[in-house]
């Protein structure tokens, strides 16, 4: 009988700790599939964040580092500069990448570090129990915005893909999501391209994945996907925000 569904080889054979309906698991799988397809797992070094994905260091079948909160792009820079032949990626949440680690993110991008960043935007701090993230929507209720986020008190959500696209150093920036089969396919293509660009030495790429956190949004998994589509996508439109080499690679 033909096997139609197999765990990617780059994904470790362990049970993940993510909540039911959390999209972190899907995104891990897409990263692993991309590594399999490009046959880079043996050369890959991943950097796990501080956040719900901290245990990513146990989930991928490649060498892994665990960085301090927000510092993954700097740690990845050190690894990549030390061993340019390795394929180096970070996997970070929105608090990690766009609050405490904003400087590291922006400067890794502007230097054009030849690394791939997987950015999981779930509009909340998951691991610490649902506080406001830099990406939290206006009006969104969180543990630290119990009356909803207001522009007066908290400012506006950060659009990371749009912001980084303005930097010359960034080679490829795309925002995707994983709410449907079609979108999962697109997300996979984007992650694959991010890694492909690194293999080809094209520089910094970031794939922002609009994600869910059913647990801290207080929704069930299906409602969470609806909320993502209705509330998040208008603020975080999907698409390619930067592709320096679009002409060259013919798309």
């Amino acid at each position: 009988m033909a096997i139609v569904f197999e765990k990617p080889k780059a994904l470790a054979d362990v049970t993940m700790h993510y909540c039911p309906g959390c999209t972190h698991g899907i995104i891990h799988r897409l990263v692993a599939e991309a590594m399999d397809e490009l046959d880079i797992t043996g050369m890959a070094i991943g950097v796990a964040p501080v956040g719900c994905a901290v245990f990513a260091y146990n989930y991928f079948n490649c060498d892994m580092a665990q960085a301090a909160h927000g510092r993954a792009p700097a740690v990845a820079t050190g690894i990549k500069r030390a061993n340019p032949d390795n394929i180096v990626f970070t996997y970070q949440g929105d608090g990690d990448l766009a609050a405490i680690g904003t400087a590291e993110t922006v400067h890794a991008a502007t230097r054009g570090e030849n690394i791939t960043v997987i950015f999981v935007n779930n509009a909340i701090y998951g691991m610490t129990g649902g506080q406001m993230a830099p990406t939290t929507l206006l009006g969104q209720v969180t543990q630290t915005t119990p009356y909803g986020r207001t522009e007066a008190a908290n400012g506006y959500p950060i659009r990371v893909a749009e912001m980084l696209a303005t930097l010359e150093g960034a080679a490829y920036v795309e925002r995707v999501t994983v709410d449907s089969v079609k979108n999962v396919r697109n997300a996979k293509k984007a992650i694959l391209k991010g890694f492909q660009y690194q293999v080809e030495g094209r520089g910094f790429s970031l794939i922002e994945v609009v994600s869910t956190c059913p647990t801290n949004w207080g929704l069930d998994p299906v409602e969470a996907l609806d909320w993502l589509r209705e509330k998040m996508l208008p603020v975080y439109p999907l698409g390619v925000y930067k592709d320096k080499f679009a002409q060259e690679v013919g798309k």
């Binding site: 060498d63 050190g78 690894i79 500069r81």
Partner: protein, 352 residues
């Protein structure tokens, strides 16, 4: 025959690192250590090395973490306010058991403080330097030659014990020029870095560099292991130097630039008929407790001369079990002690 070259202390640190095979330097400018970065910026491209000016001290120490995790000799340098920012990274280096060399050319503080020489980061360097149970191995050179020699040695010690070795200098040592020997040294035999992140290449299980242990028993066991390693370091790597202590009644304890000034004070005291001597800790952690305890049985009193409000003085009191009076000869904020001032304290200690 070895050639002698006239060099600044800061440059000697950079040259020592290059001689030790360090090809990865990550820094952020701050006075009075910027010559280290400038030297590295010039030399690294010539030896296929990496010089990177990071966006902050926080980023630069994390780049060191990355390069070290990848198995390479890596270093960063800064001065007091910048080293404070590196603290989080120092703790992660310890938690991940990564080797690294970090230089602190101290200036006056707290806050932005000043840019004149200081030794006010002794506590920060020797008492952990950040959150959690850990130590750094702290070396305190007192000449331009030693800036090179101990930086070289710092890389070997760091790799041997998988620890951060810190060079704790000050603005005087950093800016001072002396002729030094920069000839290559015999490489040490060191354990292989089989823990490094280099890619599994399908030939081994993944390596993981991590400091998270949610099970308290696991974390405790790991800390016990680490402290066993620290115990070995205390046993084998403690360094100090003595000067005219054989018959001394008053022993001055001083490190770094202050120890050079103290030496002059001791000669002046001897000329004046007071039997004075010097004990200079070369490693500040581990601290030379044993020789100090031994001296406590023989001498009348100790004078600690340091460029701070009195930080090392606490370790001298602990090491000597307060068996003898310990006097403090201190300046702070970038003001430098004179031999005459230390002499006054020696005389007072002798008269009491």
């Amino acid at each position: 025959m070895s050639e002698k070259v006239l060099m600044k202390g800061n440059e000697a640190i950079a040259e020592g690192a290059l001689l030790a095979g360090c090809r990865h330097y990550f820094g952020y400018p701050i006075t009075p250590q910027t010559e280290i970065a400038a030297y590295m910026a010039k030399r690294m491209p010539k030896v296929d090395g990496v010089f990177l000016q990071a966006e902050s001290e926080v980023a630069s120490i994390n780049m060191v973490i990355g390069a070290s995790a990848a198995g390479k000799r890596a270093m960063t340098s800064s001065s007091s306010p910048g080293v404070a920012l590196k603290s989080e990274g120092l703790s992660y280096l310890a938690g991940c058991d990564l080797p690294a060399v970090v230089v602190n050319i101290q200036r006056g503080g707290p806050g932005l403080g000043g840019i004149q020489p200081s030794q006010a980061d002794y506590f920060h360097a020797t008492k952990g330097g950040a959150h959690g149970d850990f130590h750094m191995l702290v070396l305190a050179p007192n000449s331009v030659q030693e800036m090179l020699d101990y930086t070289y040695k710092a890389f070997d010690l760091a790799d041997q014990y998988r620890i951060t070795a810190m060079i704790l200098g000050d603005g005087i040592l950093g800016q001072m020029m002396e002729p030094i020997d920069i000839s290559p040294k015999e490489p040490a035999k060191l354990p292989p870095k089989d823990w490094a992140l280099t890619g599994t290449r399908g030939e081994r299980k993944p390596n993981i560099v991590n400091s998270l242990y949610l099970n308290p028993e696991d974390l405790e066991a790991l800390n016990f292991q680490r402290f066993e390693r620290y115990r070995q370091i205390e046993e084998k790597e403690t360094l100090h130097e003595t000067y005219r202590t054989e018959d001394a009644e008053i022993v001055v304890v001083a490190y770094g630039a202050a120890s050079r000034i103290a030496k002059n004070a001791i000669d002046l005291a001897r000329e004046g008929g007071v039997k004075a001597g010097l004990l200079r800790p070369i490693t500040l952690w581990p601290f030379p407790k044993k020789p100090l305890r031994e001296l406590a049985d023989k001498v009348k009193a100790f004078v600690v001369a340091e460029l701070s409000m009195g930080q090392m003085v606490e370790d001298v009191r602990l090491s000597t079990e307060s068996l003898r009076p310990v006097y403090l000869s201190a300046h702070t904020g970038g003001v430098v002690t004179t031999p005459e001032e230390i002499l006054e304290h020696i005389k007072q200690a002798a008269a009491n």
